[in-house]
Amino acid sequence: MTAAAPIRAKRVLPGFTLSLGTTLLYLTVVILIPVLALVLKGADIGPQRFWAIVTSARALAAFQVTLTAALIATLFNALYGLLMAWVLVRYEFPGRRLLDALMDIPFALPTAVAGLSLTALFSANGWFGQFLAPLGLAPVYTIWGVAIAMAFTSVPFVVRTVQPVLEDLDPAYEQAARTLGASDWAIFRRVVFPQILPAFLAGVTISFARSLGEFGAIVFIAGNLPFKTEIASLLAFIRLEEYDYQGAAAIALVLLMFAVVLLVISNRLQAWAARYRGQA
């Protein structure tokens, strides 16, 4: 091996060339080259046309729908996930383990199957729809349908990031607070929540990122209504089908950039969470 002197000490272990070589080969062939093809196509478009495509009324509406629905879904999952993590960690009750296992279903269930099922449930003659319809609520083919699909597919993330932190919390602080006469709510707000906050935010960020990327479940429940329920990845798909490759590539690139930014944020938050846990 002809490694540089300062690093050599680290490399007593074998397999650096093999493992990094395999990793880079895989990443290059499977991820980087295809992404590069997209970037090249995007560069081909030219900045003016690119800007015109991504700021066209329909594209802006699609981004807005995607973001709004993802925000609604994430808000729901933030509360629901926190509740689930709390209940699963802090209370002992029959069926707790089953409830815990159920949290992973949205992750394992193919999203298209979830979409098909959710659509049927919420449509006017479905299990839920029949009760919602008389109230004038019809989530299918509205932005609420999009949010429902997003919420379903990103259920596990907040639960699964908050749960381990909550399990590791030192009960001493809470007991101390209780001895001082603090109410349950005050203890949660002042003692518990600050400690789980980094993990909670990390979970919320992943949940949001996952919602932005969801496709399979949404196409069934959303209907392709431009300006109302058309999400950005669906618009990219439609542009592709319309044979408008520049349009598809430009929108895809914006989504890709969004994903990378969110990834960086989530990695930072997770590093923060890890440090926090280390201190606790």
Partner: protein, 333 residues
Amino acid sequence: MKRSIFRVAALVAGLTAAAPALAQDSLLNVSYDVARELFEDLNPKFIAQWKADKGRDLTIDQSHGGSSRQARAILEGLAADVVTFNQETDIDALVEGGLVDQNWREAFPNGASPYYSLPAFLVRKGNPKGIQDWGDLAKEGVQPVFPNPKTSGNARYTYLAAYAWGLNEFGGDHAKTQEFVKNLLSNVPVFDTGGRAATQTFAEREIGDVLVTFEAETGGIAAEYADKGFERVTPSISLFSAFPVAVVAEYAKKKGSEEVATAYLNWLYSPEAQKALAEHYYRVTDKDVAADYADKLPEVKLVTVDEIFGGWAKVRAEHLADGGILDQVFVNR
């Protein structure tokens, strides 16, 4: 390690071999969205015919989707032997891509269109909104359902048929016609990418008051959902919708399937195939068969793209091009 790699390789090889064995002849027919049941019915008939004629086994694979989407997939390498589309423009796109012979219209009778249909209506039981003609679709409170005219040939015929009705109604006034088409389009609650998805929206999800699609689909769906009591309505004027077919020469040559591909498309003009087509509510060119099924397919005033719009080339340039009339009226806010 090596042994286990071999074992995995052997496993994969075994699985690959277990795949259905390749028959002697095979065809990939890439088709439009609502032709699913049609070719499921037609293909076994031709396979039997081919076996009887040539003594060779044949398998026919089908792919269905919005016809422009299908054309794009073929341009990207989906190795279709034949295309059975619902619009000439999509075959012309393949010509431009160098995949289909430029003179494809002369390769088979009737401009390479073995059957035709027209945009027609399917309304809910008892026709509660009293929908009779194109004008009713643009009225306030009426929700027509049809797919995205950008991805579906079916919906482009709908758009053009409505436009043709408008020109007739408003004495050739394009501005008034466009206003009408704009109102019609903005009444549509959902734009699916393919014709069948639109049918689903109307029939299964019970959205909209009227499904606008090929007469063949309205007939098939009314029969399929007999319990829902959908009713077929034929508008006063509609557009002659050709269903052009072509051999995708570039791919067929490579695969050596030209002979069977040509025979397959020619067979679509045979009385046997025409009868099956008429069973599926398509209008056919065989006079005898057409006469037999006349009661199923009422007389209707049909106009053609050539008469009203001066041909497909003009339609593409004026209506369908980026920023064309379709883009101007298809705003849907």
